[in-house]
Assembly symmetry: C2
Homo-oligomer: 151 residues x 2
DNA sequence: TCTGAAAGTTTAGCTTT
DNA sequence: AAAGCTAAACTTTCAGA
């Protein structure tokens, strides 16, 4: 993982479908050399894969919320995960420091669907109490810049 | 945007680098037919683009936090956005209902870098007060399933 | 790491349903 | 209006150097 790899990763984050030849032009390598590095980045897990960025509105997922989840007593993270997995409205979930046990990011079609998802979330046996914050607008959404970290 | 398009989008979310021929095999179309649909989905904005999924740890971004931001009086969302944009640690930001004005998702190399980023965030003239929640572990992270919405 | 050649992919124009 | 077919241009992916 050096500067060259970071620049290749940057290119792929910007456009996952760009050809190895195009990436090579940017970073100054031949297409086969770029491919070998991408393969190695996939093998080592630096690159997890390639995905399409979809407009949530277009798919009918226009309403979002962040939910602080408070569990009954002590619940293992794996158990929280297992309970959240089956809910398709859960797009992300994190265990956190502080008063709450987890933060859950929900995406739903509209307010009624969100209410329904929240009800199903609250119905989980491990969950005691939730505090919801509805998203009004998305100001910013981006991937972290490779190399900007202080590693 | 019909069932066929949704299945194509699903394929691309699962692997943005799969060939049109491979997608065609899954959805039952020829490669050119798939390409025409993907081009249209890009034109209409349903597909925003294609990106690489990167392991944040591997890039030196192992520490995350969610920060509730409270502004001084009334601040327009565009103005909040303009102030957050220059901070590379801000990976997402949303205006929200409730007591806070915005929720900011931060990613940093470690706790010290996170502290530094928080300090820079708090230093913004529009910001009055922040409440931070540090992420301990990521339980789940996924894209919303196309077609699961109730549109 | 590069070159070079075979295999596969993209993409445009044209025909068919 | 949208799918399939064909064929040229390009990309990937192996060798071997």
């Amino acid at each position: 993982m050096n500067t060259l790899d970071q620049r290749i990763v940057s290119c792929l984050v910007a456009n996952a479908r760009s050809s190895y030849a195009d990436i090579g032009k940017v970073v100054g390598l031949s297409a086969p050399a770029v491919k070998r590095r991408v393969d190695r980045l996939l093998d080592t897990g630096v690159l997890r894969g390639f995905t399409a960025v979809v407009d949530p509105e277009a798919l009918g997922w226009g309403t979002e919320a962040f939910v602080e989840v408070h569990c009954h007593g002590n619940v293992a993270p794996a158990r929280i995960r297992a309970h959240l997995e089956p809910l398709p409205e859960v797009v992300a979930a994190y265990t956190v420091s502080g008063a709450a046990d987890a933060i859950v990011h929900l995406r739903a079609a509209d307010i009624h669907h969100l209410e329904d998802a929240l009800e199903r979330l609250r119905g989980l046996e491990i969950i005691d109490r939730t505090v919801s914050t509805v998203v009004l607008s998305t100001l910013l959404e981006r991937s972290p810049e490779p190399g900007a970290g202080s590693q």
